[in-house]
């Protein structure tokens, strides 16, 4: 599903170069649930964003499905991302002026999903995630757990093959953390591939495999 071949990402800084990814080789199979673990600054988020077509590596090649991601032009890559990849972030990043339903429907704009179909899917997903009564609420009116579930619903709208989650439970209490993992596992059991960046140990109970990183390298 995802393949990293000698992928490096170097950031130039005033203090010199920072090697965020250092010759990473990794393969994640379709339908796998993988947790990326490691200390802060070890390159986990960089790896996730690069896998999502959001961050061009300095060198190396990243393949998602059959597509060499960075061989695509920016517009094609954006289209590919809209149709195949869902993102969930630690800070949720819901659009503050849209209600829960419209935040989820936002994902249908770039994917070209028909309005009626998008509406039907959104209502189904939100109901499944327990947000049925919160459809017309703005993000500011939701609890943190509800916000993250709304963000997961948005990521799932286009029925992606791959779900990339960057510390999605970092701001949640244990009960909400478990709930998020349950929803990710449901997606995984339905055949989806999940890659999650996490600090905690809860992921061990849900992931098929834990990949450890250190100083931009996969160490285990």
């Amino acid at each position: 599903m995802i393949r990293f071949d000698s992928v490096s990402k170097i950031y130039p800084t005033r203090a010199g170069e920072v090697r965020s990814l250092d010759g990473v080789n990794l393969e994640i199979r379709a339908g796998e649930f993988v947790a990326l673990r490691g200390p802060s600054g070890c390159g986990k988020t960089t790896m996730l964003l690069a896998a999502g077509g959001m961050l061009r590596p300095t060198s190396g090649r990243i393949t998602v499905g059959d597509e060499s991601l960075y061989s695509l032009g920016p517009a094609e890559r954006a289209r590919f991302r809209a149709r195949n990849i869902g993102f969930v972030f630690q800070m949720f990043h819901l659009v503050p002026y849209l209600d829960v339903l419209d935040n989820v429907l936002l994902a249908a704009v770039p994917s070209g999903l028909a309005k009626a179909e998008a509406g039907k899917r959104a209502l189904g997903i939100l109901d499944r995630l327990g947000l049925g009564p919160r459809l017309s609420h703005r993000p500011a009116d939701l609890s943190t757990g509800e916000r993250q579930r709304a963000a997961i619903a948005r990521a799932l709208l286009n029925q992606p093959r791959l779900l990339l989650a960057d510390e999605p439970t970092g701001n949640l209490d244990p009960a909400n953390e478990r709930e998020v993992f349950i929803h990710l596992r449901e997606f995984h059991r339905a055949g989806g591939t999940v890659v999650i960046v996490t600090h905690g140990n809860t992921a061990n109970d849900y992931a098929d495999r834990v990949v450890s990183m250190e100083s931009g390298k996969v160490v285990g």
């Binding site: 988020t45 960089t46 964003l49 999502g52 959001m54 961050l55 920016p74 517009a75 954006a78 289209r79 590919f80 991302r81 809209a82 149709r83 993102f87 972030f89 800070m91 990043h93 659009v95 503050p96 002026y97 849209l98 419209d102 936002l106 994902a107 704009v109 770039p110 994917s111 948005r154 960057d166």
Partner: protein
């Protein structure tokens, strides 16, 4: 996308209203300027015209030493000279407001006055024959300040000139020039009193200021006169002519300077607010990128904002600009106040121009939004 733009505007009303206010000010400024421009132009023409004649066309044979000593030419030319001059094709290219006159010292009481006979004002057809100074009716006299004082005459009194009785139409206020020792009558009556029928000794005029800055006005005036009226020569009252030219150029360059300056200031204002808007929306732009929004759609969000700002600014600016022009304009341009009227066609131009103006002002912020690295934003957040 349109719904998204509208919801964002509603969510960030304050930022939008501040931006729309800047566009409104810009549009109002242009509308007020254009609405009053004609009146301002005409007012300036009137003000500079009222500075008086600055050209004196006198017989070529005039002895200049005596001319400057006496204040008028001792030679004469036919009073058909004005007609002959205006029939020349390019007469009004360089000259305007032509007034034929005959001036001579003339005894009134125990002293001489300068008897001045003035013909009707001859102007270019576009000027509609508006007279310079005052009109003189036959049988009346306008007495200079000093003459009226010496004779003890005021408006409505009678005064005898060369055996003929004239009614004093006006006793002029003190001018500080030799006009104070003049008595003004019609040209025909002056010719009769002086026994110089059909003769004049000067044509007063104003240069028409159709000349460009690199042209030497006096040489052009002389060349034109040479062709039209070879028996005459022209003197230019340089200080007055320069003052007229400076006044007109000043008013034109002032508007030319102030308007673009204020428009740029408004554009910077709109742009600065938009940069704040982009900064505030960095995470939103980042997540939209993550969802698969392309550069076109991201730019569309900001250009949609510019269009909304432009339409709002055009409507409000047209209303405000017209109101200011109609209310304040007549107080500034009192003489030409009637020419200040609302111009509905400006609304159409405003509705086209204001969104373009806002889009130009939002160009840099939009580029910032489109080129912003979403990964960096999402990592930072």
């Amino acid at each position: 996308m349109i719904a998204l733009v509208i919801r964002e505007l509603w969510h960030r009303k304050f930022n939008f209203l501040l931006g729309a206010l800047a566009v409104t000010v810009a549009v109002a400024l242009v509308v007020a300027y254009v609405t009053t421009a004609d009146a301002a132009q005409r007012e300036t023409v009137r003000v500079t015209r009222d500075m008086g004649f600055n050209l004196r066309i006198i017989p070529r044979s005039t002895d200049m030493d005596r001319f400057w000593a006496e204040g008028f030419s001792d030679q004469t030319m036919s009073d058909d000279s004005v007609g002959k001059f205006v029939r020349h094709t390019n007469a009004f290219f360089a000259f305007n407001h032509l007034v034929a006159s005959l001036q001579r010292r003339f005894p009134v009481g125990d002293r001489d006055v300068i008897l001045s006979g003035l013909g009707p004002t001859v102007t270019a057809s576009a000027q509609q024959g508006r007279p310079m100074g005052f009109e003189i009716k036959p049988g009346t006299v306008h007495l200079g300040f000093q003459v009226a004082q010496r004779l003890g005459r005021k408006q409505g009194d009678k005064v005898e000139l060369g055996g003929r009785v004239f009614t004093v139409a006006r006793a002029l206020v003190e001018s500080g020039t030799d006009d104070d020792i003049r008595a003004f009558v019609t040209l025909a009556e002056a010719q009769q009193l002086l026994h110089l029928e059909g003769r004049i000794n000067e044509i007063k005029a104003i240069d028409c200021l159709c000349l460009t800055a690199d042209q030497d006005p006096l040489s052009i005036l002389r060349a034109e006169l040479e062709k039209a009226l070879p028996e005459a020569k022209v003197l230019q009252m340089r200080v007055l002519a320069d003052a007229r030219a400076r006044q007109r150029r000043m008013i034109e360059s002032y508007a030319g300077f102030v308007t673009p300056f204020l428009l740029i200031a408004c554009a910077v204002w709109v742009g600065a607010l938009a940069i704040l808007n982009v900064r505030e929306r960095r995470a939103e732009i980042g997540v939209m990128r993550a969802l698969g929004f392309g550069s076109g759609r991201i730019a569309g969000l900001f250009l949609g904002r510019a269009a909304a700002m432009g339409v709002f600014g055009a409507l409000a600016g047209y209303a405000a600009g017209s109101a200011v022009a109609l209310r304040v304009g007549p107080q500034i341009f009192q003489v030409t106040a009637k020419s200040i009227v609302a111009q509905p066609s400006l609304l159409g131009w405003a509705l086209i121009g204001a969104p373009v103006f806002a889009a130009i002002a939002l160009f840099i912020p939009t580029v910032l939004a489109v080129t912003q690295d979403p990964a960096m934003t999402l990592r930072e957040e």
